[in-house]
Amino acid sequence: MKPQNEMDMSFESRSSNEAFARCAVAAFLTQLDPTVSELNDIKTAVSEAVTNCVVHAYRDTIGKVYINVKIEENSLITIKIRDKGCGIENIKRAMEPLFTTAPSDERAGLGFAVMESFTDKLKVSSKVGKGTTVTFQKRLSCRVGNG
Protein backbone atom coordinates (compact mmCIF):
# COMPACT_ATOMS: atom_id res chain seq x y z
CA MET A 1 0.00 0.00 0.00
CA LYS A 2 1.20 3.48 -0.85
CA PRO A 3 2.20 5.46 2.24
CA GLN A 4 0.37 8.69 3.01
CA ASN A 5 3.64 10.42 3.67
CA GLU A 6 7.28 9.43 3.61
CA MET A 7 10.62 10.88 4.67
CA ASP A 8 14.20 9.89 3.90
CA MET A 9 17.34 11.18 5.54
CA SER A 10 20.99 10.23 5.84
CA PHE A 11 23.80 11.48 8.03
CA GLU A 12 27.26 10.54 9.26
CA SER A 13 27.61 8.07 12.14
CA ARG A 14 28.91 10.66 14.62
CA SER A 15 27.61 10.45 18.17
CA SER A 16 26.61 14.11 18.00
CA ASN A 17 24.02 13.09 15.39
CA GLU A 18 22.16 10.75 17.77
CA ALA A 19 20.09 13.63 19.17
CA PHE A 20 19.61 15.09 15.69
CA ALA A 21 18.26 11.78 14.33
CA ARG A 22 15.64 11.17 17.03
CA CYS A 23 14.53 14.82 17.01
CA ALA A 24 14.24 14.89 13.20
CA VAL A 25 12.06 11.75 13.20
CA ALA A 26 9.94 13.17 16.02
CA ALA A 27 9.54 16.46 14.13
CA PHE A 28 8.33 14.60 11.03
CA LEU A 29 5.74 12.72 13.11
CA THR A 30 4.27 15.77 14.84
CA GLN A 31 1.82 16.07 11.91
CA LEU A 32 0.03 13.04 13.44
CA ASP A 33 -0.31 14.85 16.77
CA PRO A 34 1.15 11.96 18.78
CA THR A 35 1.00 11.92 22.57
CA VAL A 36 4.10 12.90 24.54
CA SER A 37 4.50 9.29 25.60
CA GLU A 38 4.23 7.92 22.03
CA LEU A 39 6.77 10.41 20.80
CA ASN A 40 9.10 9.53 23.66
CA ASP A 41 8.81 5.81 22.81
CA ILE A 42 9.74 6.47 19.19
CA LYS A 43 12.61 8.80 20.08
CA THR A 44 13.97 6.17 22.44
CA ALA A 45 13.81 3.38 19.84
CA VAL A 46 15.43 5.61 17.17
CA SER A 47 18.16 6.63 19.61
CA GLU A 48 18.98 2.98 20.38
CA ALA A 49 19.12 1.99 16.70
CA VAL A 50 21.28 4.97 15.68
CA THR A 51 23.61 4.40 18.64
CA ASN A 52 24.08 0.82 17.44
CA CYS A 53 25.21 2.21 14.07
CA VAL A 54 27.66 4.60 15.74
CA VAL A 55 29.05 2.14 18.30
CA HIS A 56 28.92 -1.17 16.44
CA ALA A 57 28.25 -0.95 12.70
CA TYR A 58 30.89 1.70 12.09
CA ARG A 59 33.16 1.05 15.05
CA ASP A 60 36.35 3.12 14.64
CA THR A 61 35.14 4.54 11.34
CA ILE A 62 32.52 6.99 10.10
CA GLY A 63 29.85 5.83 7.66
CA LYS A 64 26.39 6.83 6.56
CA VAL A 65 23.21 6.06 8.48
CA TYR A 66 19.97 6.01 6.46
CA ILE A 67 16.54 6.54 7.97
CA ASN A 68 13.25 6.05 6.16
CA VAL A 69 9.94 6.87 7.85
CA LYS A 70 6.58 5.95 6.36
CA ILE A 71 3.16 7.04 7.56
CA GLU A 72 0.39 4.71 6.47
CA GLU A 73 -3.35 4.50 7.04
CA ASN A 74 -4.60 4.69 10.62
CA SER A 75 -1.38 6.33 11.81
CA LEU A 76 0.72 3.25 11.33
CA ILE A 77 4.33 4.35 11.20
CA THR A 78 7.22 2.27 9.94
CA ILE A 79 10.80 3.36 10.61
CA LYS A 80 13.73 1.77 8.84
CA ILE A 81 17.27 2.47 10.06
CA ARG A 82 19.98 1.13 7.82
CA ASP A 83 23.77 1.12 7.78
CA LYS A 84 26.45 -0.27 5.50
CA GLY A 85 28.67 -1.27 8.38
CA CYS A 86 30.14 -4.51 9.68
CA GLY A 87 26.88 -6.42 10.06
CA ILE A 88 25.82 -8.76 12.86
CA GLU A 89 27.09 -12.31 12.91
CA ASN A 90 24.53 -13.73 15.32
CA ILE A 91 21.35 -11.65 15.43
CA LYS A 92 19.65 -13.85 18.00
CA ARG A 93 22.57 -13.42 20.37
CA ALA A 94 22.82 -9.66 19.71
CA MET A 95 19.18 -9.29 20.66
CA GLU A 96 19.54 -11.03 24.01
CA PRO A 97 19.16 -8.54 26.88
CA LEU A 98 22.48 -7.60 28.51
CA PHE A 99 24.55 -9.01 25.64
CA THR A 100 27.04 -6.43 24.41
CA THR A 101 30.29 -6.44 22.52
CA ALA A 102 31.19 -2.97 23.81
CA PRO A 103 31.26 -3.17 27.63
CA SER A 104 34.23 -0.76 27.76
CA ASP A 105 31.98 1.88 26.26
CA GLU A 106 29.52 1.23 29.12
CA ARG A 107 26.87 -0.17 26.84
CA ALA A 108 24.21 -1.87 28.94
CA GLY A 109 23.35 -4.41 26.24
CA LEU A 110 19.72 -3.27 26.26
CA GLY A 111 19.41 -1.65 22.83
CA PHE A 112 17.28 -4.28 21.09
CA ALA A 113 15.29 -5.06 24.25
CA VAL A 114 14.38 -1.38 24.49
CA MET A 115 13.45 -1.17 20.78
CA GLU A 116 11.28 -4.25 21.19
CA SER A 117 9.58 -2.94 24.30
CA PHE A 118 9.00 0.61 23.03
CA THR A 119 7.52 -0.32 19.63
CA ASP A 120 4.85 -2.75 18.40
CA LYS A 121 6.97 -4.80 16.03
CA LEU A 122 10.72 -5.10 15.43
CA LYS A 123 12.62 -6.77 12.62
CA VAL A 124 16.38 -6.99 12.22
CA SER A 125 18.15 -8.18 9.10
CA SER A 126 21.89 -8.18 8.64
CA LYS A 127 24.70 -9.42 6.45
CA VAL A 128 28.24 -9.59 7.77
CA GLY A 129 30.38 -7.08 5.88
CA LYS A 130 27.34 -5.54 4.18
CA GLY A 131 25.33 -3.89 6.92
CA THR A 132 22.22 -4.04 9.06
CA THR A 133 18.65 -2.88 8.70
CA VAL A 134 16.43 -2.42 11.74
CA THR A 135 12.72 -1.93 11.03
CA PHE A 136 10.14 -1.12 13.62
CA GLN A 137 6.47 -0.29 13.53
CA LYS A 138 4.16 1.51 15.86
CA ARG A 139 0.53 2.47 15.57
CA LEU A 140 -0.19 5.87 17.05
CA SER A 141 -3.43 6.68 18.79
CA CYS A 142 -4.43 8.85 15.85
CA ARG A 143 -6.06 11.87 17.42
CA VAL A 144 -6.40 13.66 14.09
CA GLY A 145 -8.28 12.49 11.02
CA ASN A 146 -6.36 10.89 8.17
CA GLY A 147 -4.98 13.11 5.43
Binding site: T44, S47, R107, V114, F118
Partner: protein, 109 residues
Protein backbone atom coordinates in the same frame (compact mmCIF):
# COMPACT_ATOMS: atom_id res chain seq x y z
CA UNK B 1 24.90 18.75 34.76
CA UNK B 2 25.83 20.19 38.13
CA UNK B 3 27.89 18.50 40.83
CA UNK B 4 27.49 19.36 44.47
CA UNK B 5 29.71 18.02 47.21
CA UNK B 6 28.82 17.43 50.83
CA UNK B 7 31.04 16.12 53.57
CA UNK B 8 30.89 12.46 52.64
CA UNK B 9 28.81 12.63 49.52
CA UNK B 10 28.52 13.88 45.98
CA UNK B 11 25.27 14.66 44.19
CA UNK B 12 25.18 14.81 40.39
CA UNK B 13 22.20 16.73 39.06
CA UNK B 14 21.82 15.18 35.64
CA UNK B 15 19.99 17.32 33.11
CA UNK B 16 18.84 17.46 29.51
CA UNK B 17 19.05 14.39 27.29
CA UNK B 18 21.08 11.34 28.29
CA UNK B 19 22.26 9.41 25.26
CA UNK B 20 25.48 7.72 24.19
CA UNK B 21 26.94 11.10 23.17
CA UNK B 22 26.08 13.14 26.27
CA UNK B 23 26.68 10.28 28.75
CA UNK B 24 30.42 10.33 28.04
CA UNK B 25 30.90 13.85 29.39
CA UNK B 26 28.68 13.17 32.43
CA UNK B 27 30.59 9.98 33.16
CA UNK B 28 33.99 11.70 32.97
CA UNK B 29 32.99 14.56 35.24
CA UNK B 30 31.33 12.34 37.84
CA UNK B 31 34.23 9.89 37.86
CA UNK B 32 36.82 12.65 38.26
CA UNK B 33 34.96 14.02 41.28
CA UNK B 34 34.47 10.55 42.80
CA UNK B 35 38.11 9.62 42.36
CA UNK B 36 39.21 12.85 44.05
CA UNK B 37 36.90 12.65 47.00
CA UNK B 38 36.10 8.94 47.36
CA UNK B 39 32.73 9.71 48.96
CA UNK B 40 30.64 7.10 50.75
CA UNK B 41 27.54 8.16 48.83
CA UNK B 42 27.02 9.18 45.22
CA UNK B 43 23.55 10.50 44.52
CA UNK B 44 22.37 10.59 40.91
CA UNK B 45 19.50 13.06 40.68
CA UNK B 46 17.38 12.59 37.53
CA UNK B 47 14.89 15.42 38.10
CA UNK B 48 16.30 17.53 35.24
CA UNK B 49 16.46 14.71 32.68
CA UNK B 50 14.14 15.23 29.71
CA UNK B 51 15.05 12.15 27.70
CA UNK B 52 17.07 9.03 28.35
CA UNK B 53 17.86 5.95 26.30
CA UNK B 54 19.68 2.86 27.57
CA UNK B 55 22.90 4.90 27.83
CA UNK B 56 21.46 6.22 31.09
CA UNK B 57 21.31 2.66 32.40
CA UNK B 58 24.95 2.15 31.41
CA UNK B 59 25.78 5.38 33.23
CA UNK B 60 24.14 4.15 36.45
CA UNK B 61 25.66 0.66 36.26
CA UNK B 62 29.14 2.03 35.64
CA UNK B 63 28.93 4.42 38.63
CA UNK B 64 27.58 1.57 40.75
CA UNK B 65 30.67 -0.44 39.92
CA UNK B 66 33.00 2.49 40.55
CA UNK B 67 31.46 3.28 43.93
CA UNK B 68 31.64 -0.40 44.91
CA UNK B 69 35.41 -0.21 44.42
CA UNK B 70 35.56 2.43 47.17
CA UNK B 71 33.04 0.64 49.34
CA UNK B 72 30.54 3.43 48.69
CA UNK B 73 26.98 3.33 47.48
CA UNK B 74 24.89 4.90 44.72
CA UNK B 75 21.38 6.26 45.13
CA UNK B 76 19.22 7.06 42.11
CA UNK B 77 16.75 9.78 43.09
CA UNK B 78 13.96 11.94 41.65
CA UNK B 79 13.27 9.85 38.57
CA UNK B 80 10.58 11.50 36.40
CA UNK B 81 7.74 9.09 35.73
CA UNK B 82 8.37 9.02 31.97
CA UNK B 83 11.76 7.40 32.66
CA UNK B 84 10.30 4.74 34.94
CA UNK B 85 9.69 2.28 32.10
CA UNK B 86 13.34 2.35 31.06
CA UNK B 87 14.44 1.91 34.68
CA UNK B 88 12.10 -1.05 35.11
CA UNK B 89 13.19 -2.70 31.88
CA UNK B 90 16.83 -2.48 32.94
CA UNK B 91 16.40 -4.70 35.97
CA UNK B 92 18.24 -2.09 38.05
CA UNK B 93 15.64 -2.50 40.78
CA UNK B 94 17.46 -5.71 41.75
CA UNK B 95 20.41 -3.58 42.93
CA UNK B 96 18.25 -1.74 45.46
CA UNK B 97 19.66 1.68 44.61
CA UNK B 98 16.46 3.32 43.42
CA UNK B 99 14.75 5.72 45.75
CA UNK B 100 11.06 4.97 45.60
CA UNK B 101 9.81 8.52 45.46
CA UNK B 102 9.09 9.40 41.88
CA UNK B 103 8.40 12.95 40.88
CA UNK B 104 5.48 13.82 38.67
CA UNK B 105 6.05 16.38 35.99
CA UNK B 106 3.39 18.45 34.28
CA UNK B 107 2.62 16.89 30.92
CA UNK B 108 4.22 19.61 28.83
CA UNK B 109 3.67 19.65 25.09
Amino acid sequence: MKLSEGEEEITAYLSGDIDHHSARDMRERIDAAVQMKKPSLLRLDFSGVKFMDSSGIGLIMGRYRLMSLYGGIVRVVNVPDELERMMKLSGLSALDIMERRVIKREAAK
